[in-house]
Amino acid sequence: MRKSLATALAAFTCLTAPALADTYVVRGENVWTGTSQGTIKNGVVVIEDDRITAVGGASTAVPDGASEISAKWVTPGLISAYSQTGLVEVGAEDPTNDAMAAASAYSISLNAADGFNPDATAIDVTRIEGFTRLAVAPQTGNTMFGGQGFIADTSGDLDTPLKEKAFTVIALGEAGAGLTGGSRASAMATLKAALDDGRAYPARYIANTEGDALKRLDAQAFSQAARGQQLIMVRAHRASDLNAVMDLAEEQPNLKFVIVGADEGWRVAPRLAELDIPVIVDAFSNLPSSFERLAATSENASRLAEAGVTFAIANVGDSVEQARLASQIAGNAVANGLDFDDALAALTVAPAEIFNMTGYGTLAPGGHADVVAWDGDPLEVTSSPVAVIIDGETQSLESRQTRLRDRYLNLDESERPMAYHKP
């Protein structure tokens, strides 16, 4: 997966001494830090081993012999806040799709990390658009509980460490109602019973194998979240559904929530801000595509920002293969009133905060060296990365798609069939 530095960067960098291969000086006409340093004109980011060691202006002292990368823009590696990247190869082919289990005997104990495939085509496809980390959320199958989500990087390394069980996924709203017997009341009753079961684990399960809502393994898996020690990712859109989540948060104040979707979030934004409940929104969503999102507007993100809500932007509407479009979506949020810095923060700082990824999402000395160098404004549809660095290592900018493209650049079969073309 990982190419030599020379291969990956030859076109864009001048290499000095290869002796210090793990030391990089990344220069950008604009270095967006995500910290109080703001955007540094003609800035410099120094990377040594897997850490950022310096961030500053053109005069920043740089180590001798470092590899140099120069680009128009430099940003922290983007963080996909919601997707199924790495769980799915071909969406419609069930054997290759581990995003959800439609007929499992288990629910909350389903650990999506068990299905993560670092070789998935979507990993490379997503990485080469500037995403270095993924919050991977299982979808819901036959219950309102999707199971355990995780955090991964996009290196494609088979031995890449995962932060497993980073959050647990729950559907409310129309989907939750449909999965729990047919009404929102049944969804909320099921959730509350499950929370009781989780809190009662293990005591209740010593003599019995089943609780009110959860069997033993699922109660065990929910015991952390139910005690406020794990993030609960709730999917909901309608203002009244968001209020129901917030009612629950007030009733059980130790619970930690993040809400995915929240198309009507702008209508309850002050309360979200007051309760400090973050949301993950899709700024493309502006249609009354169901009765739970009648008030959807492309200004949702800018209004949430105005109210002081913490929010990330993700491609919630097309989260299986196209996590990479989150940067285009963030750009559209800017076109609909969101401040540029808030939009870029919604792809970096905010998801790092939501998922408690300390040391990621910013360019700051001491932070993890996930860095992307771009040929233009990172939110612009015509821009793309010229270098992607994960934990201090430069990554390949190839994917299965670029390989197919290169094969078919020239359709000349006069000598040999296309199958013999291996550019």
């Binding site: 799915v88 190869e89 071909v90 969406g91 419609a92 082919e93 085509t121 979507a122 496809v125 203002a239 009507e264 209508r267 493309f284 969503s285 502006n286 249609l287 009354p288 595509s289 169901s290 009765f291 009648l294 008030a295 959807a296 507007t297 492309s298 200004e299 509407g317 299986v320 293969e321 196209q322 479009l325 285009q328 750009g331 559209n332 800017v334 076109a335 609909n336 939110l379 612009e380 549809v381 015509t382 821009s383 793309s384 798609q401 670029t402 197919l404 493209r405 078919y408 650049l409 359709l411 296309m418």
Partner: protein, 471 residues
């Protein structure tokens, strides 16, 4: 193959072709055969809304035919493009719009939409886009399933869409007729229909038909088609029936006598064989498109455009030689096996091969920003050395889709005499930050970003949360 667009009611198909350009002057003594049945029983009632002359000045204009004019001006009069140039003078009574720093293009035409047939809200009662009852349903017409109150039309308008084709879905081998509409809200579908546009036929290759029918109804096997072999057999069987039907009608046209019994399904298929109805075919894989091109030669018709066409880059040379358009996404891929080989450079590679490239949406979200989709493809092409000028890439959004719908003689570029379907953009429309400021349809200002009070609100949105909000 040039096709007559003006399907005059009451004129039999064979005579339409012979009457190109002279429809009104046909001799009165023509046979009864001409009026055997009405070919346009649900005619357009659309006519342009009131419009005063508008002069747009100081704009960067992309004329839609490959030219760019800096500091250009464009004059709209009587619903038509009246003049385009660099220093036009405002006629008396004209409103002048200073478009300094802004860009002007022809309105975007999306030739693959399901607005109205799969509207918002997407409740079960609204699923009117696929007549799944049989693999060949050439007898159905999408216009009979369009709900004109779909709020999606207004969102598309704010994205600069001035005309669109609404197609049946892709469950069927032959799904039925498409309809071309102006993106103007109306109480009726007829009030949206693009006047005198040709009819189109939706067909589908590959996975969808065999999944829906072969694996349908929860039984195994469901029914035909169950395989790509079955798909081909299904189309060919239909074309054989259509050929026979056409032969009977041709004989009747020539010799008179008792008219053949009408068949709604075969009316449409014979319309394709007569050259009156344009074929739009959902087809992802390169090898399948090659089979379909041969099949069209077997039965004597032409595929006007392949849709989705994610593998067009593999056979761009063959598509250019045949003369079919490819209507494509910028970057959709992977959601099913036949989409697995999607690449970001498909559109520029097709263009580079000299084939007709079109950016389409197939989505109520994508239709709102087709300019951005084109921009992505354009930029990805440039990065591998396919340096297409932006003004040439705009042909993917207006003129080429207009050609694929048989309406390019009336819209799709800023040529004087064409419909004044025009967008003023806040900046370079290939930027993510650019919005449509003003959208004119037939010269009438139908969307103005500076005046949200005037935004259209569909019936469904009245009295609902978010009514009249900025969308």
């Amino acid at each position: 193959m040039r096709i007559s667009h003006r399907l005059v009611a009451g004129v039999a198909a064979a005579l339409v072709l012979s009457a190109c350009g002279g429809g009104k002057d046909k001799p009165a003594e023509k046979k009864d055969a001409e009026i055997a049945f009405d070919k346009n029983p649900y005619p357009s009632t659309y006519s342009p809304y009131p419009n005063a002359p508008v002069l747009i000045t100081n704009a960067t204009i992309m004329d839609g035919e490959g030219a760019r004019i800096e500091n250009g001006s464009l004059l709209l009069e009587d619903g038509k493009i009246s003049a385009i140039g660099s220093d036009l003078k405002a006629p008396e009574g004209a409103t002048t719009i200073d478009a300094s720093g802004r860009w002007v293009t022809p309105g975007i035409i999306d030739n693959h939409s399901h607005l109205g047939v799969y509207p918002s809200p997407g409740v079960s009662a609204h699923g009117d886009g696929n007549e799944i009852s049989a693999p060949v349903t050439a007898e159905v017409w999408s216009e009979h399933g369009v709900w004109p109150q779909d709020p999606g039309f207004t969102r598309a308008l704010a994205g600069g869409i001035t005309s669109l084709q609404i197609l049946p879905g892709s469950a069927n081998l032959i799904g039925g007729r498409g309809v071309i509409v102006k993106n103007v809200p109306s109480r009726t579908v007829q009030g949206m229909k693009f006047p005198d546009a040709p009819y189109t036929l939706k067909m589908a290759c590959g996975e969808n038909p065999k999944r829906v029918y072969g694996y349908g109804n929860g039984s195994f096997p469901g029914g035909a088609p169950y395989s790509r072999m079955g798909n081909m057999a299904g189309y060919r069987t239909a074309w054989i029936r259509a050929t026979e039907y056409k032969r009977k009608w041709d004989k009747y046209e020539k010799e008179g006598g008792e008219p053949p019994a009408r068949d709604l399904e075969l009316d449409t298929l014979a319309g394709v064989l007569n050259g009156d109805i344009l074929v739009h075919m959902h087809c992802y894989r390169a090898d399948e498109m090659a089979q379909i091109m041969d099949m069209s030669k077997e039965f004597g018709y032409k595929v006007t455009s392949f849709h989705h066409a994610v593998e067009s880059y593999k056979i761009a040379d063959k598509l250019a030689e045949y003369g079919a358009c490819s209507s494509m996404w910028a970057d959709w891929w992977g959601f099913k096996m036949e989409a697995y080989d999607g690449i970001r450079e498909n559109i520029p590679l097709v263009h580079k091969a000299g084939a007709c490239a079109i950016v389409h949406s197939d989505s109520d979200v994508g239709i709102q920003r087709l300019n951005q989709e084109a921009a992505k493809a354009w930029s990805d092409g440039r990065k591998i050395g396919i340096d297409i000028p932006e003004e040439e890439a705009w042909t993917w959004l207006s003129l080429n889709p207009a050609k694929s719908l048989g309406i390019d003689d009336r819209t799709g570029s800023l040529k004087p005499g064409k419909m004044a379907d025009v967008v003023i953009w806040s900046g370079d429309p290939f930027s993510v930050y650019t919005k449509a400021d003003q959208v004119f349809i037939d010269g009438a200002l139908m969307y103005d970003r500076s005046n949200p009070e005037a935004d259209p609100v569909m019936d469904f949105e009245i009295g609902q949360p978010g009514e009249g909000d900025r969308k």
